[in-house]
Subunit: 355 residues, 2 copies
Amino acid sequence: MARARISDVAAAAGVSVTTVSLVMNDVESRISEQTRRRVREAARAVGYAPSSVARGLRTQQTRTVGLISDQIATTPFAGRMLAGAQDAARENGHLVFLVDTGGNGAIERDAITALTSQQVDAMIYACMWHRVVEAPEGLPPATVFLDCRPAAGGFRSVVPDDRAGGYAATRELIRAGHRRIAYLDTDDGPIASNLRHEGYLEALAEAGIPVDPALHVTGATTAQGGRSAAEVLLDIPESRRPTAIFCFNDRMAVGAYTAAHHRGLEIPRDLSVIGYDDQQLVAAEQDPPLTTIALPHYEMGRWAMEVALGVREEGNDNATHQMECPVVRRDSVGPPPAQVAKPNRRRASYTERLP
Amino acid sequence: MARARISDVAAAAGVSVTTVSLVMNDVESRISEQTRRRVREAARAVGYAPSSVARGLRTQQTRTVGLISDQIATTPFAGRMLAGAQDAARENGHLVFLVDTGGNGAIERDAITALTSQQVDAMIYACMWHRVVEAPEGLPPATVFLDCRPAAGGFRSVVPDDRAGGYAATRELIRAGHRRIAYLDTDDGPIASNLRHEGYLEALAEAGIPVDPALHVTGATTAQGGRSAAEVLLDIPESRRPTAIFCFNDRMAVGAYTAAHHRGLEIPRDLSVIGYDDQQLVAAEQDPPLTTIALPHYEMGRWAMEVALGVREEGNDNATHQMECPVVRRDSVGPPPAQVAKPNRRRASYTERLP
DNA sequence: TTGAAAGCGCTAACAC
DNA sequence: GTGTTAGCGCTTTCAA
C-alpha cells in the first residue's frame, strides 16, 4: 500500500491540507482543539508520516547533517566521537549522513558533492586523530572540523588540548613523588606528539626538574614500538633510570608493561606508567589497570555537532576550540621506589575516576 | 550566493530544462554531442549540483539508506561492519543515514519514523554482536537484519556461522596434536556461546575425543573473566589439565594469557590458546600474537547493504544467511608439550594469514 | 533532436 | 478558524 499523503489525512478528517499541515507542525493555536484531535486521529488512522523530502524541497531545510570522516573502520576511537555527534543531532531533530572516505581524495570529493546535492543543513569534517589537514574543495564555509584543524584556517574546529594533557600526565607523576620521568614518545609524527612533549617539559620546568635528554625516547605507536622504546629506558643504569614513564598512548604503554615484566619489574611498585587516550578495551583491562589521559571524543563530537547546527554560539568562525583531556586514575601510578635502598613495598591505591 | 538550479543551467546553455536534465542523467543519446558539451560546460560554469531533494520528490527514490544500530560507541567491532555497508552503498550511489539507538526503544521508534519520513530506499537493522531480537514495529518488510536475527522471522538477515567457527577453532587445535582441549566459555549468555560450543563438541566427536566436562568452564566476557576461568582449568592436575584452550573471545584469551604467565607457563610451548573475534588492537598485539577466529564483520556489512539495495539476489525473504568465520593463524597455537616427560622446547612457527 | 508542461508532497502567503 | 493556491527543483510524458 502506498504512503499516505497529507491530502489523504485532510480528506479523512474532512478538513483542508493547510489545517493538517498546521496541526502536524504544531503551528499557532488558531486551530480549535477539536479539529486538532480529529486531524491527529485521521493521521493515525491512515498511517500518515509526513514526507521529509517534500518538506525539504519546500522549506529548503532538510534537517540532515553530513559527517565526513577519514577512517571509522580502522580506529576504535570513532565510536565515542560519532556517539557525541549523533546524540546532539538527535536532540535537535536532525539525522546524520555518515561517509567514511578511508582517506581517499576521490571518495571525499564525491562525498562532498553528494552531501551538497542532498542539501544537508550542516557539515562536519572529522579525523580520527588530532591532525592538521588541507581543507578539501567544496566544503561549505560553515563546516566544522572535528579532531583536526584546517591548515589555512577559515573554519571552526575542535581538537583535544594535547599540551595540557601532557602537562597533566607529567604533573600526575610529579605529584606521586617522581623526579626521573621519561617521555616515551612516538616518531610516527602526529601533531599530538609535540604538543604532549611541550606539556611534559612545562611540568618538569615548573617543578624545577632538569630535563634529561636520555629520558626522551621514541618508537612506533604500537605495543611493539612501546616495548622497544621502553627497553632503551630500562637499560639505563639504575641510578639514572626513570622511575616513571609517560607514554604517548595506551598501546605503547602496554609495550612498556611488557618490557617491565620481562625484567621482573612490577608496576607500579618498581615503575609507574601513565598512558594517553583511555582506549576502551585496552587501558582498563591491563594488569594493573592503566592510569591514563582521556581524549574527550564524545564531548568533541557533541561540540562539533552543536556548533554546526548553530545551537551553541561560538563567536569566532575561525577559531580552534581546545578541549580538556582529563586524567583517568587507575593503578599504574604509585610513589617511586625508595632510593638506593631496598624497593619500597608500599603500594598506592588509586581509585577509578568517577563519571 | 544561492544554489544554481537546473533552469539557470538551461538559460546559460540556451536550451530547455528537459535537455539539461537529459544530459545530466546520461539518458539516451538523442541529444547531439555538441549540445551535451554546451550543457556540461554551462553546468560547470554556474556551479550546478542537482538537488537530490527535488529529484527524490519527483522520482520517489532518494538514493539513501537507513542504518539503525544498537551500539556503535561501546564496541570497536562496529567499524568494520559499517565500513562494509558504506562501501557497498557508495559503490551503488547511495548515502547512508546512521542512527545509533544505544538500545533505547524510544530512540529506536523515533529513528524508524524519521527514516521513513526521509523515504530511505532501504533499511538495515544492525546489532553489534550476534543476537536474536524482537523486530521493532514499523520496519519496512524489506529491512535486512545485520548480525542479528528477528525472533519471529519475516526478514532477511545475516549472521556469522558461529557453529562452524567453534568447529574450526577446535579442529585447529586437534590438528596441532591436542587431545585435552578446553572450551573457556562465557556465562553472559550470548547466542554465539552455545553455537561455538556445539562446533567444539562436533570437532571433538569427529576426532573421537571424549568430552571432559571439567574442561568446559565459564566466566564474564572480559580479560578478568577469562583469567578467572583459565585459573580453574590450570588448577587441574597436570595429567588431566588441558594442553589447549579455545576461548569464547579474544578478551578472555588475554585473561588466559595472564593466568598462564602467572604460573610460569609459556604460550604456545606449554599451553596453546585460540581466541575468537580477531579484535583489532587486541588479538594481533598480544605476546605472542593470538591465533583466533575472525568475525566477518566487513563482509556481513557489505552483504546486508547489497541485499538491501537489491544488487545481490537472495532467494528467500525469510532466510538467515550464515557467513564463514575464517581462522587467523598467529603464534599462540603449537603442538602439545611432550607427555609426562620434560616439556618439549620446540616451538611451532605459524605465519599470519595472508589477505 | 528538442521543448512545454504536469506533477511529486509539502508549506505558507493570502483570502475568506 | 479554515481553505485556496502557488511554487520549492526536478523528471518525464507528450507534442513538435
